[in-house]
Structure formats: C-alpha cells, structure tokens
Amino acid sequence: MGDGTITAQVGGLDGLEQKLNNLAPKAARGAIRKAARQAGKIWQEAVQERVPVHTGQEQESISVRTSAGAGEEEGTTGSVTVSVGPTKPGFYMLWQEFGSIHQPAKPVLQPVFDETAGQVLDAFIENLNEVLEGLAE
C-alpha cells in the first residue's frame, strides 16, 4: 500500500491448477489477469461509492491495475497482483487514507478491503473458472 493502494495476492487454488497447466503460459497469465481484474472491480466500485467527493476527480481516479510476476521457471507466472487505488490526479487521497500532521486519517481503502476481501476472492475463483471454460470452447 506504499502509494495508497491495497494489494492482494491469491495463491493455493489447487483445483484450477490443472486447467491452467494445460494452457500456454501466456494464455494462462492472461486468464488469471482477466479474472483478477474483474474481481478487482468489486473493490473499485465499493471505494468509488464511499470516497468523499471534493473535486470530482476522486471517484474517476480509482483504478484497477493488474501485474504478473515471473515464476521460478522461465515462461511461468509466479503471482498476479491486483492493485486498486487512486491514480495521479487523486494523489491527495493518500493523506485522506493516512492523515496528516494536523488532520486525523479517514480511511476508505482499508475498511473496504477488510469488508470485501472474501467476496473478491470468491468472485476471482468464479471468474477464473468462466474464463477457462471460455478458452476451452
């Protein structure tokens, strides 16, 4: 959360492993990122609903970003990271989340993450199954 975003990493989804192993590494990485991005939109919408509006840029600046880390073997994916938080135009939300010297914090991202982490994980698994089924067809 170094830049005011919350990052979640998901692992241990053994049931989906075989299906992913049957795909080419690039396709597997794409499938995971797509599923993770869709799941991350739950956070995006929840944050957009709660974020206080001062300039109007706050809601627009909440974005979902995904990135894939390299695996131990060449051509494999080690992890997929979903980041939800403000982009540059909403940089001042950092002080809203963590406060400043004379102003207490009024966090939005952390409470949303705490409340919806389970829901997002369920959505990710569901999305990944759907994406893999779509690829198999």
Binding site: G2, I101, H102
Partner: protein, 141 residues
C-alpha cells in the same frame, strides 16, 4: 481502551522520551493528530491513530478478544530522525505482549512500515515515517 494504554506505554518508555527530546516540557506523543495549539517545538513527535477493529463472535455474542491496527506516525525535521523515532516505536512494540491498564495484549504484528511524502511545516518540510501494528488483545472489563 487500547489506544490509551499504548499511548501511556510510549510516554513512559525512557527510550521514547529520550529520542523525542522534548524542549517544550512535554513528551510529544499525540492521539489522532497534533493540535495546532500544541506548544512548540512539537517536533520530533509521534502521532497515534486507531484503525479498524475486528470483532470475533461466539454463541453468546461478541468475544472480548479483539484485533485492532494502530498507526504510528513519526514526524521530524530530517529523514534520519523520523526513521529513528519510528524504529524506536517498532522495537518497543513489535513483539510486545502482556497486561496493560485496561487491556491484555496477547500479540502484535507489523502490518505496514513505510516512508510517507514530506509535509510542509514551519520554515521547511517535515519528514514522516508510518508504522502500522496490529494488536491482538482482550479488554479487561
């Protein structure tokens, strides 16, 4: 209340008192934010803020065991001092467990330890280092 207990622990710790090196006659540990009326110089300082509390439920309702994340912001006129103050808090609390006045702390975990952008201060910039620690504790009453 956990916040009050931890605040007292910080203010009573000789290492924290020494590093804050108060020149205004008070130990610069504040709850929530540094009030604008705080006697100067109020830097270096530690600001403690309460985060979310996680409650646990049993058949008879809410358990007395809670989890709460507290945020400790260390402010100083230079980066090294801000980091040093933050590290002192971390050393004091990172493996802390035991009874306090109103609570019994059973464990603590560091959740966040990071630099924050500097903030405008009187005649320059203030450096800030953020430390978030999750405490597992039981209320005494």
């Amino acid at each position: 209340m956990l916040e009050a207990d931890i605040l007292n622990k910080l203010m009573e710790d000789p290492t924290v008192v020494a590093i804050l090196n108060s020149q205004n006659g008070t130990v610069n540990v504040y709850n929530g934010a540094i009030p604008k009326s705080a006697p100067t110089p109020f830097i270096p300082a530690i600001v403690l803020q309460g985060g979310g509390t996680k409650y646990f439920y049993g058949a008879d309702g809410i358990n007395r065991f809670h989890q709460k994340t507290l945020q400790f912001d260390s402010y100083a006129n230079d980066y090294t001092t801000a980091l040093k103050v933050s590290n002192t808090v971390r050393e004091l609390l990172q493996e802390f467990s035991g009874p306090l006045t109103n609570t019994i702390v059973t464990g603590s975990l560091i959740r966040r330890d990071m630099d924050m952008p500097f903030e405008p201060g009187e005649g320059g910039y203030l450096f800030r280092h953020l430390l978030a620690i999750e405490f597992q504790y039981t209320e005494n009453n």
